[in-house]
Structures are given as structure tokens and as C-alpha cells.
């Protein structure tokens, strides 16, 4: 029997918002803006891109940081401006919105696949511990698919990732934390 994976509520609303947007072409255009720390993923994939609106002849893009101190936000803002400028949009504003706080639930299904291919285990590839945080072991290894893995450090190369090691293929890998 094949497994039917359900789309989280949050994910459904994001897709609806994009599909019914008056500026659909701009959502497509901003697919080329990647997270500088995980260049395989676009800001849409990660859920950092919250909204795009046309206000008169001005374009307003709303983004949200993954973590409070995410150092990539300034670069992302510049990249959004550059992508829009290149297509002739001159009058624009990139707004930072804190609420609702970013959640790893917002990551798109393609984003999760791309993340795994990039060598980073997405949040659902580990069962959360009792307190809802990163478990000590058994995150799915993105390299060989083994569950025989253990947590080396809660804080990986960036605040959004934890570091695991696979006992089967011996490789280390990042796990994208649930938040």
C-alpha cells in the first residue's frame, strides 16, 4: 500500500497565496533568490518569502527571518532587490516581518527533497524527542538512508541545523531542526 502524505495546513495556505496572487510572475521570478547558506533552496522553498504585493507602481516584498540572528537576511534583501531591478522593477521595498514567527513547517515539499539531495536531513527525517526538540539518535542519513545515526551537537554549522554522524557510512551530516 502506498503512503499518502498529507499537506500541512500552513503549506496549503502558502500555495493558495502564491496561486491566487495578482503578481504570480514575481513569485516565479524570486524563485531564483537562494538562501546564501543553503544555495540549493530558494527563499520560497524555505518559507522565508512571506508575501509579494503591488502597491501602485511599487513592489513590496515581505520576508521573515528563520532565527533572530540569521546573518543571511541582509544578503537575501540585496538579492531580492537585484533580481527585481534586473527585470526593470525600480520602485520596491523589502519588509521584514517577525510575526507569526517562522516555522520549519513552512518549508515546501520540493524544499525538503532538495535539502535531502543537498546532504541535509529535513526536519521530518527524525522523530522529535519528548520535549519536541532534536532527538539524540536515528535521524535518517541523507547520504545512505540509514537510521543508525547519533547526534554529535545540537548546534551545527548554522543556528537552524544540528550535527549528526551516521554509524553505517561514517559520514557526518546536518539535520535541519524543527522550530
Amino acid at each position: 500500500m502506498s503512503e499518502i502524505s498529507l499537506m500541512p495546513e500552513e503549506q496549503y495556505h502558502r500555495l493558495q497565496q502564491r496561486d491566487t496572487s495578482e503578481v504570480k510572475e514575481l513569485w516565479d521570478l524570486l524563485d531564483e533568490v537562494k538562501d546564501p547558506e543553503i544555495p540549493a533552496l530558494s527563499i520560497w522553498d524555505l518559507g522565508i518569502l512571506r508575501d509579494i504585493e503591488r502597491q501602485g507602481d511599487r513592489i513590496v516584498v515581505t520576508i521573515t527571518p528563520t532565527y533572530s540572528g540569521c546573518p543571511a537576511m541582509d544578503t537575501i534583501t540585496e538579492d531580492i532587490e537585484a533580481a527585481l531591478n534586473a527585470k526593470g522593477y525600480e520602485s520596491l521595498e523589502v519588509k521584514m516581518q517577525l510575526s507569526p514567527a517562522w516555522s520549519s513547517e513552512w518549508m515546501s515539499p520540493e524544499g525538503r527533497r532538495k535539502l535531502r539531495n543537498y546532504g541535509v536531513a529535513p526536519p521530518e527525517d527524525a522523530d522529535a524527542s519528548e520535549d519536541g526538540l532534536t532527538p539524540d539518535a536515528h535521524a535518517l542519513c541523507p547520504h545512505c538512508g540509514s537510521r543508525d545515526t547519533r547526534l554529535l551537537s545540537e548546534f551545527g554549522s548554522t543556528a537552524c541545523k544540528a550535527l549528526f554522524q551516521c554509524q553505517a557510512c561514517k559520514e557526518t551530516f546536518d539535520y535541519f531542526k524543527k522550530i
Binding site: 527571518p65 532565527y67 533572530s68 540572528g69 540569521c70 546573518p71 517577525l98 510575526s99 507569526p100 514567527a101 517562522w102 520535549d131 519536541g132 526538540l133 532534536t134 554529535l152 551537537s153 545540537e154 548546534f155 551545527g156 554549522s157 548554522t158 543556528a159 550535527l163 531542526k177 522550530i179
Partner: protein
């Protein structure tokens, strides 16, 4: 928003920003000095979370002040007498046990404060708190694990951890004291009544220290003054380091 409430909210945003900024800088001093690479990286991540929080609080303070001061002016252009952080935040990094015990005290404090601040009638403060809560859960798990491991570890690690608890204890009382500014904000539904969190904090800290085979100190001494700008000498040294580049090269961008 009335002017009195607005001024109080500005002061509150500065206090919360100063707490985050000073602690964030203090934690960042561990970068390249951690006991091993993963701890180095962990500290760098926690420091970044706090510096990010400081930027959000200062950004809001700059909006409220509306007098041309930017978040950088709040961080880099004020002297120690103008800083409003709790003394606990500015205490030096000392050894690893000391920094982890301080972190535990602070993580439990924020674990209680932030869920209350989320209910604030001030939307910006509530939004910053909601963002920070999730991060604090990860911080707390780490500091708790380390205090248990060090307290209930070797004779040496136990001795150092107990020393840290005893030396920091007198700085924890200030966390639960309020002045007229904060009382006004509590009455207006904007600020958190921090005095009500004290018992919970003592209960949680007490249970972790006991599990770590550490003694909970008697309340025999107290130091206070951070909220009115009376700091220990440690803050001056910290600010000298933190503000040096900005003050030497005003307006420098890269």
C-alpha cells in the same frame, strides 16, 4: 499611545535590548576558546540569537524614540552609565562551568519571561518574544545538560560548578525587581510582572542544581544597579572592545 507609556516602552525596549546585546557579546567571547569545536560553534549560534534579539529590540527603540537614533547608536554610542542591562549579563566569561551556570540561570529566566511577553498588548514586543521563545528552548536544553554533567562530573568539575553557582547567586535577585517604569507597563498590559516569576525560577533552578548534586546557596548577599546604570567594572571593558571599531571609524560601511 500616551507619551508616558511611550517613554516607558522605549526604556523597556532598551533594557531588553541591552540585556541581549551584553550577553550576546559576552557569549561570543567563547568563539575559538570552547573546550572543543562543537561547543565553539554552539556558543557562536547562541550568541547570534542574542545579538539578533538585541537588533530587534534596538530597532523598535529607534522607532519609538523617533529622534534619528539608529540601532547602531543604541549599541555603539552609549557609555556604561547609559546601559540598562542586568549585572548578571556583564559578568566575565570566566571558566566554562561559570558561563554555563550563568546561561542556565538566564535560560530559565527567559523560559518564564518570554511566554508572558508574548501576551503583551504591544504587538512588536510580543512578536520579538514569540521569535525568541523557540530559540530559548534549545539554549536551555544545552545549559541544563552541561550543568548536570559538570555538577555531577569529576571532583574538579563539581568544585568549579559549585563555585560558579555561589559567585553568581547574588546577581540573580536583580532579575526579579521592578521599578515604577516597569510597574506602569505591567498596569498597561505591556510589560511582564517579573516578581511573579520568581518562585517558579527558584523551583526550576533548585531542582536542576539538586539533580546535579550542587548546593542551592542561601540568599546572603545581593548586588543590584544595572537597571539604573550602576555597573560593575566588567561592562566598561566589554564596551571598550565592542564599540572600538564603530567609534574609531564613524559611519564606516563594508
Amino acid at each position: 499611545m500616551s507619551d508616558t507609556i511611550k517613554d516607558a516602552t522605549l526604556e523597556y525596549a532598551i533594557r531588553l535590548g541591552d540585556d541581549a546585546n551584553v550577553l550576546g557579546h559576552r557569549i561570543s567571547e567563547w568563539v575559538s576558546h570552547g573546550p572543543f569545536l562543537e561547543e565553539d560553534i554552539a556558543y557562536a549560534n547562541v550568541a547570534l540569537d542574542y545579538i539578533g534579539r538585541a537588533r530587534m529590540f534596538y530597532g523598535y527603540a529607534s522607532e519609538l524614540a523617533n529622534d534619528g537614533r539608529t540601532e547602531d547608536d543604541f549599541a555603539y554610542m552609549r557609555d556604561d552609565r547609559q546601559y540598562r542591562n542586568l549585572l548578571l549579563m556583564e559578568m566575565p566569561k570566566e571558566d566554562f562551568a561559570y558561563s554555563q551556570v550563568r546561561q542556565l540561570f538566564i535560560d530559565i529566566y527567559y523560559g518564564l519571561l518570554l511566554p508572558e511577553l508574548v501576551k503583551s498588548k504591544d504587538d512588536t514586543l510580543a512578536a520579538i518574544a514569540a521569535k525568541a521563545i523557540k530559540e530559548t528552548r534549545y539554549h536551555l536544553r544545552r545549559s541544563r545538560d552541561w550543568v548536570l554533567r559538570l555538577g555531577d562530573g569529576t571532583e574538579e568539575s563539581h568544585r568549579r560548578t559549585q563555585r560558579a553557582v555561589d559567585s553568581l547567586w547574588g546577581y540573580t535577585h536583580e532579575m526579579f525587581e521592578m521599578d515604577d517604569t516597569e510597574r506602569l507597563l505591567v498596569d498597561s498590559g505591556i510589560g511582564v510582572d517579573i516578581t511573579k516569576l520568581r518562585d517558579d525560577w527558584h523551583r526550576q533552578v533548585g531542582s536542576i542544581l539538586t539533580e546535579a548534586t550542587l548546593n542551592v546557596p542561601e540568599d546572603s548577599w545581593t548586588v543590584r544597579g544595572g537597571r539604573i546604570g550602576y555597573h560593575t567594572e566588567n561592562l566598561g571593558h566589554l564596551l571598550t572592545e565592542m564599540q572600538f571599531v564603530h567609534r574609531s571609524y564613524p559611519g564606516c560601511q563594508w
